[in-house]
């Protein structure tokens, strides 16, 4: 059977359907203490006093800690660092003297019961001396806001590009503050196991191996003394699983108090304390020729990073500046990005970080250029797309420490296929007809290049035991995206077993020595490839061993559904893989005992999938409400291991993108108080706002960088959603340049619609 390429049903679903999932909050240990975090209620203030006496006086409260109690613990370090000297901006695990955002951890209460812990937390009195908050760091007065660093990238002769331009098109664009908001809030549970002298933490996600090392180093423990466990994870989207203060605090408390410590976040805390993302302002200028050729682009941008630089440091800015040009040639380009601090929740990555923002900026710019030149925007895109014969295309820019080289692609082909899929002529004619009948409708497009498969390595161990059970152990993590099924498919095809019989273990730091984790759409690319290598080696070993058992040359044998036999004679003599494994007991065979192998896949460069989003919207100019009538995603994935799962990733990403385009925004008042701290005000799409996402999945440009030819699928559903919807709204409103800000909330759209001349 060919599992790769087929939409097999997920092997991980059953426990999730029957209520047997094991999420962070589902574990309860005898004698555990509950941790509750006391959070700052002001955006910026000096901590004059934190009085914990009333809280401590409550029966059942074991301890209350403030910064003084954890002074010996260093701030949380960067997981990825691209600029030197930014260490002073790291976040301490409990605020040290000054609090810098509403929601910052100031103290923790450890108590017998979660309700009691909450009561006690309310009895911790904090006296603040107010300091001036920064809430809008985009046009700071000197000395008012902190610019941590300026990230600058570019190539080509910008001056010449602008000098010779027929037209210069300028725009200011802004993307609101969104984030992943997984349905499961964060949570962690830690305990000390004297039997093995380790502190274990359950509730890890995304990057367990990295976080184990970070926690060990912060607590001054050898690496082997910390063990991280991943359970079921209720959504990742970039923000979940990064190392946060609370993770360190539960481990520290477990060690110090000698009891299991459990911390489960509530939704308000999540919205105030887990990473935010996006929130950028761009001022962009393009130099263009009369025929639509873009000679050069100059961008200046401000990234509101919030109060501290967290584990990602300036990763989002790095991606923003290096990937803004997207699918276009742009002979000259520069982006200068100011990384600003403010008194808001600190930021990290959120699905398609830097690409959601820049695709919005770039694709709005393309539409504006088209309007100025009175050209069709599809034509302008076509004119500027990188031609297929220039692949691999070297951008002459570095991102995340590796050169940006688009590995393969035929952008023009994808554009053609998309237009055909849309029935472009008919669609635009139908929209024109509806407009003439008074409807406010529009079509918008966004072309994007994604990145995926970030290295440098990942490893997998494949083992067949004597009962014939196959176990794939990987260092990557699962955040609910279908890792188990995909790796089982690759293993099954390579080894010759049934996918349903393969078990996949992930996210346990004691089961495999190294693991990079689940981010940057890297799992299928990296672990899929490593699985291919490991399963291939196991197959070879099995054939060699079976050759002695069946008295046939290894190259004449094959494996099907776990049975080894001579090719072409399925009814002849055979042995099961379990029997083969039994032949490889220690002392019975040469080489490493057991039917097992590790495969390590290494890669220097990322692979770049790409796609097009198209939206058809209807605008109610009175209410400002935007309805997405159609949403189409054309996506080049190289090769889809499981098309149904890929489509699921795309549909889910698109829904989040629609949320970011129309609804979601973390708003603050001028004193830095968050106005969105519950699901009543941070609005996410429901089934009513999300149309059926039509997916055109293409496998025209396999990646040459990995043996499967795959490109990542995790992010391409969201990347151009803001761009396509904004372009569609602008189209509906007669090409308005005012459509420059996401989300396009009803207030904003109504304001724009009112400002337009009546038809």
């Amino acid at each position: 059977m060919n599992y790769i390429g087929s939409s097999v049903l997920r092997i991980e679903d059953r426990p999730l359907l029957t209520g047997e999932g094991r999420f962070a909050a589902d574990l309860s240990l005898p004698d555990q203490l509950q941790m509750r975090v006391v959070r700052s209620s002001v955006a910026h203030g000096r901590l004059v006093e934190i009085d914990t006496s009333d809280a401590l006086a409550l029966d059942g409260v074991e301890a209350v800690w403030t910064h003084q109690d954890v002074q010996d613990i260093p701030p949380i370090d960067f997981r990825m660092a691209w600029v030197d000297g930014l260490e002073p901006f790291r976040q301490p695990i409990l605020a040290a003297g000054i609090t810098r955002y509403v929601g910052e951890p100031l103290a923790v209460v450890l108590a017998e019961d979660p309700y009691l812990a909450e009561d006690a937390a309310e009895l911790v009195y904090v006296e603040y001396e107010d300091l001036q908050p920064v809430v809008d760091p985009y046009q700071p007065e000197p000395g008012e806001a902190v610019e941590t660093t300026l990230v600058e990238k570019g190539y080509g002769d910008l001056e010449e590009a602008f000098e010779g331009a027929a037209e210069i098109v300028e725009m200011e664009l802004r993307v609101g503050r969104h984030t992943g908001v997984p349905m499961e809030t964060r949570g962690a549970q830690a305990w000390y196991d004297p039997l093995r002298s380790v502190v274990e933490m359950f509730g890890a996600a995304k990057v367990p191996h990295h976080n184990r090392a970070a926690i060990a180093s912060m607590l001054g423990l050898p690496l082997g003394s910390v063990l991280l466990r991943e359970g079921h994870v209720g959504g990742g989207f970039g923000i979940r699983g990064e190392l946060y203060p609370e993770d360190v605090l539960v481990c520290l408390a477990a060690l110090r108090l000698g009891r299991p410590i459990r911390w489960i976040e509530d939704r308000k805390e999540h919205l105030l304390a887990a990473n935010h993302s996006r929130d950028q302002v761009h001022r962009i200028r393009a130099a263009v020729d009369r025929d639509g050729w873009i000679r050069g682009v100059d961008d200046e941008c401000w990234v509101d990073q919030g109060a501290y630089l967290r584990t990602h440091q300036v990763t989002v800015t790095e991606l923003t500046t290096s990937l803004l040009p997207g699918p276009y040639v742009w002979p000259a380009y520069r982006s200068r990005a100011h990384v600003m601090l403010s008194n808001k929740t600190p930021c990290g990555t959120y699905r398609a970080p830097g690409r959601f923002e820049t695709t919005f900026v770039r694709e709005r710019l393309i539409d504006l250029i088209s309007d100025r030149l009175e050209m069709d925007s599809v034509g302008v895109r076509r004119r500027n797309l990188i031609p297929a014969d220039q692949m691999p295309f070297h951008r002459e820019i570095e991102a995340l420490g590796t050169e940006v080289t688009y590995d393969s692609g035929d952008y023009h082909l994808l554009l053609d296929r998309t237009l055909e899929f849309l029935d472009y002529e008919d669609l635009t004619a139908a929209l024109a007809r509806r407009r003439s009948e008074g409807e406010v409708v529009g079509l918008g497009m966004g072309f994007f290049v994604e990145k995926s498969g970030l290295g440098p390595f990942d490893g997998v161990r494949v083992t067949v035991d004597e009962a014939g059970e196959v176990v794939v152990t990987t260092g990557v993590a699962s955040v609910g995206q279908g890792v188990e099924t995909v790796l089982a498919q690759v293993c099954a095809d390579t080894l010759g077993v049934e996918a349903e019989s393969v078990r996949v273990r992930h996210g346990q730091t004691d089961e495999i020595a190294y693991g990079m984790g689940a981010f940057a759409s890297r799992v299928t690319v990296m672990s899929g490839s490593a699985t291919l290598l490991a399963a291939g080696q196991v197959r070879e070993r099995a054939l060699e061993t079976a050759s002695g058992m069946l008295e046939a040359a290894p190259q004449d044998l094959t494996i099907d559904r776990g049975r080894v036999f001579v090719q072409g004679s399925p009814d002849g003599p055979s042995v099961m893989l379990g029997e083969v494994a039994a032949r490889l007991r220690p002392g019975q065979a040469e080489g490493t005992p057991g039917l097992t192998a590790e495969g390590w896949f290494e890669v220097d460069h990322m692979t770049y999938p790409y796609g097009i989003h198209c939206a058809v919207v209807r605008v109610d100019p009175e209410s400002g409400e935007v309805t997405v009538e159609r949403f189409v995603v054309a996506y080049e994935i190289g090769r889809a291991v499981n098309p149904k799962l890929v489509e699921g990733q795309i549909a889910g990403g698109a829904a989040q993108g629609i949320g970011g385009a129309l609804l979601e925004d973390f708003a603050y008042d001028e004193s830095g108080q968050p106005l969105t701290s519950s699901f009543m005000d941070y609005l996410m799409p429901t089934v009513v706002e999300v149309p059926e996402v039509e997916v055109l999945l293409c496998e025209d440009a396999p990646s040459p960088l990995n043996p499967l030819g795959v490109k990542g699928a995790g992010e391409g559903g969201i990347t151009a959603a803001g761009a396509a919807i904004a372009n569609a709204v602008a189209d509906a409103l007669g090409g308005s340049e005012e459509v420059s800000c996401l989300p396009l909330s009803p207030e904003r759209v109504r304001r724009i619609a009112r400002s337009l001349p009546r038809p």
Partner: protein, 160 residues
């Protein structure tokens, strides 16, 4: 342990009686999860918006985060753990599986119970009614369309 007042409550969940001692302020969701060990009922917001905690109380979908355990004595409660018949999945569970109606699975128990309660009372809903019903729960992973498909398929199957 502190001297907070606890009362004894008898809950009937999935046909089984549980005797628990809880504070009167303890929510039904927390009681199911922590006192009855039924952790299939999830908490996504604890303020009645996301629907992850949806269970059936006397056949009606309710938000278990908005009820207190003490209110539920004498009610017939059903949670996701009671949905399958031994090894046989409920038609909704089966349809969610076949239609890829879940990714992380965190919202799934809530959607399953919401749809179960609804379809048991209104076996022949049209698409708009289904959307209206499903719009009371949030999912951040799937984009909803596969959930909608799954519920439609299960509705047809449950009608037989």
């Amino acid at each position: 342990m502190s001297n907070r007042t606890e009362v004894e409550v008898r809950l009937n969940v999935n046909g089984r009686d549980y005797r628990v001692r809880v504070e009167p302020r303890r929510t039904l969701a927390d009681t199911l999860r922590d006192n009855c060990g039924l952790t299939g009922t999830h908490l996504g917001c604890e303020h009645g918006v996301c629907g992850a905690c949806t269970i059936l109380a006397d056949g009606e979908p309710v938000r278990a985060c908005l009820m207190f355990a003490v209110q539920c004595e004498g009610m017939e409660l059903r949670t996701v753990e009671g949905l399958a018949d031994g090894d046989r999945l409920h038609p909704l569970q089966q349809a969610f599986w076949e239609n890829h109606g879940l990714q992380c699975g965190f919202c799934t128990p809530g959607f399953l119970m919401l749809a179960t309660g609804y379809l048991e009372q209104r076996p022949e809903p049209d698409e708009e009614e289904l959307k209206e019903m499903l719009s009371s729960n949030l999912c951040r992973c799937t984009g909803y369309q596969n959930i909608l498909k799954a519920v439609k398929q299960a509705a047809a199957e449950m009608r037989g």
